[in-house]
């Protein structure tokens, strides 16, 4: 099947050990975040090193209010071609149970480079702010 020669601008960042992406149009900015993730989350920070600097991703919620999402850098603005954006396999979607997770893209060509989770609207999805970035499993607060 020939896919249209189009692309989507995405902002990529880290949530703990998760590499995550959202549409660039949703991101209002990024600012330096808390000095330590431990001050944001009551659970002890595990020994795995943070990928980068603690930051805060700024976006507008459904009521137009500016909100912040604690993330870690590096933050990248990338252009993903349509053919690189893979719909979430239904079985994967069913078992991961993350509202708002819509697609995957493969970072690089080798499995070692990993998978990037692509979420839809930050404003509509409350998934990201209940993820404990110190753990690679979703924690429902």
């Amino acid at each position: 099947m020939d896919l249209p020669n189009q692309s989507v601008s995405m902002v990529l960042f880290w949530l703990g050990e998760w590499r995550v992406g959202v549409e660039a149009s949703q991101v209002r900015g990024v600012r330096p975040g808390a000095t330590s993730l431990a001050t944001l989350h009551p659970k002890p920070v595990n020994q795995r090193p943070l990928v980068g600097q603690p930051l805060a991703l700024l976006f507008l919620d459904e009521s137009g209010q500016e909100q912040e999402l604690p993330i870690t850098g590096p933050v990248e603005l990338v252009t993903l071609p349509v053919h690189a954006i893979h719909p979430l396999p239904p079985l994967l979607a069913a078992r991961m149970g993350l509202p708002g997770l819509r697609a995957l893209t493969l970072e690089g060509t080798t499995p070692a480079q990993g998978v990037i989770l692509l979420f839809e609207s930050l404003a509509k999805s409350r998934t990201l702010d209940i993820i404990n970035p110190c753990d690679d499993r979703v924690t429902v607060v």
């Binding site: 396999p89 079985l91 994967l92 069913a94 993350l98 995957l104 493969l106 990993g114």
Partner: protein, 170 residues
């Protein structure tokens, strides 16, 4: 025993052979594979491809039994280890490990198996119902049992397997 002529004997054999051909019972194509020493099978019509040596992309946040995704010529498919679903211990995968890209009625998945043993055509009559002593949690995923080279092989119900998995079992 009445003595036949040679011609009669040959005619009898030919008639018998035609009867066998005319009455050939329907067969099913099955893919037989191994998990922790147990033999299982799925209908060949449900297997799109058998991959050997494919590397998987780990998906963060996925359950442990969901090993990752595989990139098959630009399309990605989730790959699961069905052991917990079948109440089996963990498998140890060697160089013969394979992924059965399976397509159920509504869901598709890659099934990680230790090795594929054979693809064969089996008369439907050779498939017996699963043992009545099986717990419901297993029986609902099994279509039947047959014997291959003296070993018992469990024929899996792929749709039931995938449905249970989607609901969080295994």
């Amino acid at each position: 025993m009445d003595d036949l002529t040679l011609e009669q004997a040959l005619t009898q054999r030919q008639t018998g052979r035609r009867a066998v051909i005319a009455g050939d019972e329907p067969e099913v194509k099955l893919v037989i594979f191994e998990l922790t020493g147990q033999l299982y099978a799925v209908h060949g019509a449900r297997i799109r491809e058998i991959l050997v040596g494919s590397e998987l992309f780990f998906v963060p946040g996925a359950p442990p039994s969901l090993e990752g995704v595989v990139n098959v010529r630009g399309d990605i498919e989730a790959v699961i280890r069905p052991n917990a679903l079948l109440q089996l211990p963990e498998s140890h995968y060697g160089p013969q490990a394979a992924i059965l890209l399976s397509r159920g009625t509504e869901l598709s998945v890659g099934l990680r198996v230790e090795r594929v043993l054979n693809v064969l055509d089996l008369p439907k009559s050779a498939i017996q119902p699963p043992p009545a002593t099986l717990p419901d949690s297993l029986a609902n995923k099994m279509q039947g049992v047959f014997f291959w080279h003296g070993k018992s092989v469990t024929l899996l119900d792929l749709d039931a397997l995938l449905s249970d998995y989607a609901q969080g079992i295994g």
